[in-house]
């Protein structure tokens, strides 16, 4: 079994050799991910695991993909998407051009959900969705816009509950076990790696979506990322978080106003 000290050693190695800083991630979660990967890949000793992570570039790709959580869903939390559809996006629709940042987009399910709502509100043509993640291999998947067909029943139910009125299957074509989403959706997306821990602000947005990413960060890192977002949101722009995340304890929270019951805040 891997102990706390070994986790620390491994994460320091990763920072030193690969430039990724996981030291301010929530400890219990990242430790569990590390132990899980160690078991999955049948390492026999910590020394072997450490050596492989340090020196094997190919393996490090896998490490990065497995150590970060890439579980996501289309139209996750339907009431959240309902609020985006009814309260947030119509306001942004009054702008000549809409810039949105999906931070920590993983395999892209949220970005595609957002594009669908924008399309239905007839706003997609003047929108640009920047979808970023720390992890280059999930971005490759996101670009393709292909999701396992087995999840589509759930996604289409989520879509309906979020106020979607169309036939969800109109947005994709089934291709063996995958659903390939319409290319008109990702034509308005820009995919790029971005590390919330170490990279800076790169634009100003009217809406930033960062859902179920900050739960993996410790409090100090969460506040740093809120500051990064604060520097990347226009006045009167919006910040959307996951259902269990909150701006509440961040010192500048009072400069933001919460929208209804959802985890959406507007910059004042």
């Amino acid at each position: 079994m891997i102990d706390n000290e070994q986790v620390e050693i491994l994460l320091n190695d990763v920072l030193e050799n690969h430039g990724y800083d996981f030291l301010e991630y929530s400890h219990a979660s990242i430790k569990r991910r590390i132990i899980r990967l160690y078991g999955l890949d049948n390492f026999v000793s910590f020394a072997e695991f450490r050596y492989t992570v340090r020196t094997d570039k190919q393996y490090f790709k896998r490490f990065l993909e497995e150590i970060t959580v890439n579980v996501t869903e289309m139209f996750r939390d339907p009431s959240f998407y309902k609020s985006l559809r009814n309260d947030v996006l119509p306001v942004l629709g009054t702008y000549p051009f809409i810039r949105i940042w999906v931070a920590g987009c993983s395999t892209g399910e949220e970005a595609y959900s957002l594009a669908i709502v924008l399309k239905e509100l007839n706003l997609l043509h003047k929108s640009l969705i920047y979808a970023t993640d720390i992890n280059p291999s999930v971005l490759e998947k996101a670009k393709k816009g292909m999701f396992p067909l087995t999840y589509l029943k759930q996604y289409s139910e989520n879509y309906r509950q979020s106020g979607g009125l169309k036939d969800f299957s109109a947005y994709y074509t089934a291709n063996y076990s995958l659903a390939k989403f319409d290319e008109s959706l990702n034509r308005k997306m820009i995919f790029s790696t971005h590390n919330l821990v170490s990279d800076h602000s790169f634009n100003e947005f009217q809406l930033i979506l960062c859902r179920n990413v900050l739960i993996y960060f410790d409090k100090e890192l969460q506040h740093k990322v809120f500051n990064l977002f604060d520097g990347s949101i226009e006045k009167l722009g919006y910040l959307a978080l996951g259902s269990k995340e909150s701006l509440e304890f961040w010192p500048k929270a009072k400069e933001y106003k919460r929208i209804k019951m959802e985890k959406i805040w507007r910059k004042l």
Partner: protein, 194 residues
């Protein structure tokens, strides 16, 4: 394996359950003393969408503070923390809560194994874990960790469980310190306070 109940003072109690466990919780809660001096964590499998139902039900049965666990919140004595639907709940070294939306474990999120395992290491012999009724084997691996770190393993008597499979698996695979009928559970928990 004999261990006097409550010999090492309890610093956290975690109750895990699945199908058939709600009735047991509803039986336990009204009988709990209100000066409980450790945090109580509840990890129950349920559908992702009826979020506050379990919290509301338990709240109405006790004077103890009951709330859905918040990310980074500290486990404080005398309060009941309910693992939110569709998140795993882990305990950090500083006894704060981390939530995690990673893959389901044993087809479950929250998974009882995940919470038991992370708490086992933090609270060691000061941890008491109770596994209730259910129809899969979540919780069994977690109880093994609790045992390894010197915590106390309590399992609901499968004969009194609506769904005996989960406690049965636990009894077969983990050496429990105590096997309890549901009607004796509140009494057992109250005595952990002494």
């Amino acid at each position: 394996m004999a261990k006097t109940i409550g010999s090492a003072s309890c610093e956290a109690l975690i109750i895990g359950g699945s199908a058939g466990s709600l009735d047991v919780l509803l039986e336990i809660f009204p009988a709990l003393r209100t000066d409980i001096c450790f945090p109580i964590v509840i990890v129950v499998h349920r559908k992702a969408n009826n979020e506050s139902l379990l919290t509301d039900l338990l709240k109405s049965r006790t004077l103890l503070a009951v709330g859905e666990a918040e990310e980074k919140e500290f486990l404080t004595p005398g309060k009941v923390f309910i693992a939110p639907a569709d998140y795993h709940m882990l305990i950090e070294e500083d006894r704060s809560i981390s939530l995690d939306y990673s893959e389901k474990v044993n087809y479950s999120r929250p998974s009882i194994d995940v919470t038991f395992q992370s708490a086992a290491e933090v609270f060691k012999e000061k941890l008491v874990c109770i596994l209730l009724s259910g129809s899969n084997s979540d919780g069994v691996e977690g109880l093994k960790s609790v045992n390894n770190f010197g915590g106390t393993v309590v399992i609901q008597n499968p004969d009194t469980a609506v769904m005996p499979y989960m406690p049965q698996q636990a009894v077969l695979n983990v050496m429990p310190h105590v096997i309890l009928d549901s009607r004796n559970m509140a009494d057992y928990i109250n005595k952990l306070n002494d």
